[in-house]
């Protein structure tokens, strides 16, 4: 095994893959809630990816990647035995793991992968863990078995009703509370609108919400300030102050706005070099 080598790769759905990567320094220091930077190719993008699992003895880490742009599509085309050019971390502040009492972990889409290590750590810390997992449809739902093992109670929702309850994770949280669950804290990871509405609901229900934010990042080490988010009216850097923040007062609309900044460029990169692209500096 050499550093940054893919030891194992499993496809979890058509566009989502799980990687086991040899990265011994990261494996022995990782904590729940932290992320790494992956990069492929000499001019490759630095892509932040949440750590899903780690094994200090084997020296391996696990990440789950959904192909949403050019770089992540390139990652998911890699095979066992291939190597990333950069695997750097662990980055970000770990989630505070303590006995909250009853902890709801809410994962949406590929966010389920990111909430999984938190569920595991909360369970080990003696919390009653209630998992609420949401996906668009059955074939996009990941980590169901592993999450079930870490959970004292377990609810699945799909947008189309192909698995579990038809509806949103917020519907599931509401009905859990109606059924008498006294939830103390909620850990939410998923698409920005899902985090926004789940945090709002939890706040209304008297549950302390925490959300892991996913702004665009560049270096991931605090250096560039690209990942600015607004929490409690203050500008914070998600890469060093987060990515998990207390979510009663996060400006999710601003987060959504800023994560969309390079949509056109992402499309351009995915489509390859467009014919009408005019190089400003005369390269071609």
């Amino acid at each position: 095994m050499t550093k940054n080598e893919i030891i194992n790769k499993t496809d979890l759905s058509a566009s989502i893959s799980e990687f086991e990567i040899y990265a011994p320094l990261i494996a022995r220091s990782a904590k729940a809630g932290q992320f790494i930077i992956l990069r492929l190719g000499e001019k490759g993008e630095r892509v932040p990816v949440t750590l899903v699992d780690w094994d200090a003895d084997k020296g391996t880490i696990a990440v789950i990647i959904q192909a949403v742009g050019k770089s992540t599509a390139d990652f998911n085309a890699m095979k066992k035995g291939d190597k990333f050019d950069t695997v750097a971390g662990p980055l970000g502040a770990p989630v505070e793991i303590k006995k909250y009492g009853v902890a709801a972990v809410v994962g949406g889409g590929v966010g389920i992968a990111e909430v999984y290590p938190i569920a595991r750590a909360l369970k080990q810390a003696g919390n009653r863990v209630i998992s609420v997992l949401g996906a668009r449809s059955k074939d996009l739902l990941i980590l169901e078995e592993r999450m079930a093992r870490m959970s004292d109670a377990f609810v699945i929702t799909t947008d189309d009703g192909s698995h579990g309850l038809k509806g949103m994770v917020t519907d599931a949280v509401k009905s859990l509370v109606r059924q008498g669950e006294k939830i103390d804290a909620g850990f939410i990871i998923g698409p920005v609108p899902m985090m926004k509405f789940t945090a709002k609901l939890m706040k209304e229900l008297g549950i302390k919400p925490y959300a892991s934010l996913n702004p665009i990042m560049l270096d991931g080490t605090g250096m560039c300030g690209c990942c600015r988010v607004i929490v409690d009216g203050k500008v914070r850097f998600a890469c060093v102050d987060g990515p998990m923040f207390e979510a009663s007062n996060i400006d999710f609309d601003n987060l959504m706005l800023r994560t969309g900044e390079y949509k056109q460029e992402e499309k351009l990169a995915l489509e390859g070099l467009s014919k009408d692209h005019k190089c400003k500096i005369g390269l071609h």
Binding site: L25, I26, S29, Q34, R39, G41, K43, G44, E45, R46, K70, S71, D85, T86, V87, A88, G89, P90, L91, A93, L218, D219, T221, G222, M223, C224, G225, C226, R228, V229, I230, V235, F237, V240, D251, N254, L257, R258, E261, Y262, E265, L268, A269, G272, L273, H277, K280, I281, G282, L283
Partner: protein, 467 residues
């Protein structure tokens, strides 16, 4: 015989209209003939003021004398007796404040172009295969970890290796050079120069490890188990924002983000490179330091309609090098002096549409002697813009301090040092911007070299204790 009245050589420069179309080096340096003419101007002073004014005390008259004897190898080696990064120093050092500012010819004839001569010596010697790294002293068997590969850590590592120690550099990013790589644009420091200088340090025997976060993945405590000393030169990578409304709008960058996208990730070649940058048509840069000039000059190369620098004091108070301000002006950058940012205005899509500003006048000098800007009440006005780059300062990077709770910090977020440059952890030293909080490349290099001498002293003391 020296002849100071020969015309001073300035070297060729790219035409301002041409150079805003590329990221190639603006100052093209001296050719051999020009270098030899310039070298003849040096009086070879007995008590060279230039050398005393140099932060790293390069033996200036001696290397110039060797150059005149056509001993390129000797000249390069002479520079490298005190500075192991001559091609970088010759380019990015503000020589007008140091050696050239102290040159006795300055008033009557203009100073010897020492920076250009240093650069010529390094480039020509390297090109001819004559730039030989100094031979390290006999192996001491002692090991030192240097954190970061920017100017301070690189200088420290090279000096420690020269003394015969085993030295390993740990860099968090994928490429080496720190601020030289992500901060300083290629038109001031061509990309090929950094790996060339790194290669020289590698040839001395320093080991370089990239993509490794000392602190989070390799704690200082662990490093001290394997190494006899640790040098922290992790820099000032944490941008200060302006704390005005609209700062998180689309189209607002910190200078670090803007420069990193361009310099490290080469976003100007997107989509040939993977990382994009979105510089608009009307770009405003806030600040008056070197990063502000770098950002403005990068912006000018991305084909905008206008680039404006908004600075709250006047030109005289600007911390940027005078030469860089002139370069920016030549490249069409417009300066709004005595102007304070108040608010970033946004359109219905959350994108920047302008900067609300206030006029200022100069008041009493502050504690540093710089006159403070005073707001002129009711002077609000708006500069239309679609991009705002905030270049108003840097704070020390928090990654190592936060992962090392026992490390004593100052109120400014810098690592606390005693008079010997030692931190609160025995065996751990620091320098550059993590200790200063945002200074220059040359001061960082000086800190690295000074720290290397202190670490030597510390290690010798340690050996004696063991004996």
């Amino acid at each position: 015989m020296p002849n100071p009245s020969l015309p001073r050589q300035h070297g060729k420069r790219q035409d301002p209209r041409e150079r805003t179309k590329n990221f190639d080096e603006v100052a093209q340096g001296l050719g051999k003939e020009e270098a030899l003419l310039e070298a003849q101007r040096c009086l070879n002073c007995k008590n060279p003021k230039c050398e005393a004014a140099c932060p790293v005390n390069v033996k200036i008259p001696e290397f110039i004398a060797l150059l005149l004897k056509d001993d390129l190898k000797g000249a390069a080696s002479k520079i490298m007796e005190t500075s192991l990064l001559p091609a970088i120093c010759g380019r990015v050092c503000p020589q007008e404040n140091h050696c050239q500012g102290a040159c006795v010819l300055k008033e009557k004839f203009g100073p010897v172009s020492i920076g250009l001569l240093e650069r010529y010596t390094a480039d020509a010697a390297r090109g001819a295969g004559l730039l030989a790294p100094p031979k390290p002293a006999a192996e001491t068997g002692l090991k030192i970890a240097c954190i970061g590969s920017g100017p301070s850590s690189l200088s420290c590592a090279a000096e420690l290796r020269r003394a015969g120690h085993t030295v390993v550099i740990f860099e968090a990013l994928h490429d080496f050079g720190g601020v030289l790589r992500y901060g300083i644009p290629s038109f001031r420091l061509p990309r090929a120069v950094i790996p060339a200088e790194v290669q020289t340090v590698k040839e001395m025997g320093v080991k370089f490890i990239n993509d490794t976060l000392a602190g989070p993945s390799l704690s200082i405590e662990e490093l001290l188990k394997e190494y006899d000393a640790v040098y922290i030169g992790s820099g000032a990578g944490l941008p200060t924002m302006a704390d005005i409304p609209g700062e998180n709008a689309l189209g607002v960058y910190s200078a670090n983000e803007f420069l990193t996208r361009i310099n490290l990730m080469e976003a100007y070649n997107f989509p040939h490179t993977a990382t994009p940058v979105r510089a608009g048509k009307d770009i405003i840069v806030l600040g008056g330091g070197n990063s502000a000039m770098d950002a403005a000059r990068c912006a000018a190369r991305l084909g905008p309609q206008s680039v404006r620098v908004v600075y709250r004091r006047s030109r005289d108070e600007m911390p940027a090098r005078a030469e860089e301000v002139e370069n920016a002006m030549e490249e069409g950058v417009v300066f709004d002096f005595l102007t304070m940012q108040k608010e970033i205005m946004t359109d219905e899509n959350g994108r920047v549409k302008g900067l609300k500003c206030l006029k200022a006048r100069l008041g009493e000098p502050d504690e540093k002697g710089r006159r403070k800007p005073v707001i002129v009440e009711g002077s609000d006005f708006i500069i239309p813009a679609d991009t705002v780059i905030v270049a108003i300062g840097q704070k020390p990077n928090p990654v190592i301090p936060r992962s090392t709770p026992v490390l004593k910090m100052t109120a400014h977020g810098t690592i606390a040092q005693d008079e010997n440059g030692a931190t609160s952890i025995p065996g751990v030293f620091c320098g550059g911007d993590i200790a200063r909080g945002g200074a220059t490349v040359l001061l960082a290099m000086k800190d690295g070299i000074t720290a290397a001498h202190r670490i030597n002293k510390y290690l010798h003391g340690k050996i004696k204790d063991i004996k």
